[in-house]
Symmetry: C2
Subunit: 356 residues, 2 copies
């Protein structure tokens, strides 16, 4: 796996984790489950046995570049690429592919988000080996998470025949279903969650981009030329804003032929809400997950995040998410956490960008 590079996408904000997540301190830079590590550091650490930090490339935004460097002291600074602006995942992955190919002509990319969780690392590595091996042979490969519930929050991948042990054909990508459809998919057994983790050679994805998104390829070519002549940053500044803002799923994957899918089952979570963070956090005897100095009287099933020097007292409450950042305080019923986005929208409308 000497020619395998990890490409970690770290451009998002995660407004569902407000007030902990802000533009300055996005989800991937938080420790949402009280593990003691930021999510991005956990992602890099998980890869380390097979992909060492020097072959980890991180794509993030300028506002978070310094914080990402600080969170990943073992990743060389030149591996942390800062986009002049967010243009969705297709330009992000395309730019990373240019960098991988620049370093290694036949380099393989293991593309993954910076803010997901994996419970079983050994199972993750076993699946990654299968996917990398298939990618090395020139395929576009995706992880498909075997569903354990009729989730309506994810897209699905319909899989077909097994082409080799543990590797199936991907028949099609489907959008987030309604509950009825999701139940059908779960029952059918060959529909997997689209986890946003992909494997391919830099060469392969760039040739797919050339086929399906020629405008993007033209821009990437300019950047590649500048990279080779040591002039990348000036050209990036001019070219990046002109790249089409598109997702890799919609722009490439959904219409590419011959995609392979490795069905995986390694305790994956995209940690999409405060309630999910509660489920995956360590609990005390009253089933509270509290990362603060606290006194809890007759209180249970609460998630509490507060500064270390703050005393939080709970009296007679349950199923609450309580997040105190010093400048903002959220008190949210756990099963209403999808509405945290409404708070963010309200603050945006009020011009309170200082809090976002």
């Amino acid at each position: 796996m000497e020619n395998t590079y990890a490409v970690i996408m770290a451009g998002g904000v995660g407004s569902r984790f407000w007030p902990a997540s802000t533009s300055q301190s996005p989800k991937q830079l938080l420790d949402l489950t009280g593990s003691g590590k930021t999510m991005i550091a956990a992602t890099v650490e998980r890869l380390a046995p097979h992909i060492p930090p020097k072959r980890v490339i991180v794509v993030t935004g300028r506002i978070t570049q310094k914080a990402v460097q600080d969170a990943l002291p073992h990743v060389p600074k030149e591996n942390i690429l800062a986009e002049p602006m967010g243009r969705n995942t297709a330009p992000c992955i395309g730019w990373a592919a240019v960098h991988v190919r620049h370093r290694c002509k036949n380099g393989v990319m293991a593309v993954m988000p910076s803010d997901h969780l994996v419970a079983n690392k050994d199972a993750f590595h076993a699946s990654a080996r299968l996917a990398i091996s298939a990618a090395q042979k020139g395929s576009l490969v995706t992880f498909g998470v075997r569903p354990n519930a009729p989730e309506t929050g994810f897209g699905y991948i319909e899989t077909g025949d097994e082409v080799s042990l543990g590797v199936n054909q991907a028949i099609r990508f489907v959008e987030k279903p309604n509950l009825e459809k999701a139940k059908e998919y779960l029952k059918a057994g060959n529909f997997m969650w689209n986890s946003g983790m992909f494997f391919f050679t830099a060469e392969k994805i760039l040739s797919e981009i050339e086929k399906q998104m020629p405008d993007l390829k033209a821009g990437l070519d300019k950047i590649e030329g500048a990279l080779q002549s040591g002039n990348e940053s000036a050209v990036l500044e001019q070219v990046f804003p002109t790249l089409p803002s598109e997702s890799i799923d919609y722009g490439i994957m959904e219409n590419a032929g011959g995609i392979l899918c490795v069905p995986v089952d390694f305790g994956w979570s995209d940690l999409g809400s405060w309630a999910a963070a509660f489920e995956l956090s360590t609990k005390d005897g009253n089933n509270n997950a509290i990362s603060a100095d606290a006194v809890a009287i007759d209180s249970k099933k609460c998630l509490v995040r507060a500064p270390k020097d703050k005393l939080v007292a709970l009296v007679g409450v349950e199923d609450l998410v309580i997040v105190d950042t010093g400048t903002a305080l959220l008190i949210c019923k756990k099963d209403q956490d999808q509405h945290v986005k409404k708070v963010v929208e309200t603050l945006k409308a009020k011009g309170r960008t200082d809090l976002l």
Copy 2:
């Protein structure tokens, strides 16, 4: 009423209002209902039409002396008496009586707590006139609040015949009853809540103290002598700690003869809990009482107190008390607010006096 002095007792802490109330910032120095004034300032302001600030004497503790002075800029500093330590209400009132008699031989004292609320000021003054008039004739007089519920949190005064218009005999003081007894009292109609507001001449209360608490009288005599010779503070330091720690109810009132009671009905509240503070606070359209910059989504019947520069977001919650002081945060189900004391006890046991 030129010879009437108000004696405002401001020695308490009010642990039921933690974390807002602490030894440095006790209940009477807070604005618990969002009125814009501290409770003690509201108490002095309420009296002002009949008892001007120069005839207001406040008894408080040393730790809060400066804060009380700041809260009452119109009360002369020499009127704010600081006890070397709390010794309950009998020594407090006795010491104030010494000061009133020193200023005015036949001075009448209107004794009241600093942390109660009165909704109807006109009715309050009408009742006070009756009580002061009876006190001037040499009686011990008490306000008895006409109950509107079978409260078990107050002591009661059983009243007898009316001796003059609006003034009744007080037959006996009874301890806090159980619910059954409280219902009987409410039904009987002649049982009033003991509000802790008393009226008597300094002469009269000092002679009652002499009869019933001679040790206290002996100590007060020493302080009185020192006051006359301009040496009070040194003597106070020695004598005050030796005074018996006793309440005026138990030490004097319960066994004194000929007490009169003025039944009152002026919208009194001792504001004994966060839930009571919520009831008496101004609410917004969702029946929330919020003194902070806030965003409330699907939330109602919450009391929120936070620093002015903090943004508080509520999502899907109701009937909560949320108090953020910067150093501590309380989240309490409103009907469980009696257990806030348990938090205070727990912090005491942990040695966290910095938070109390």
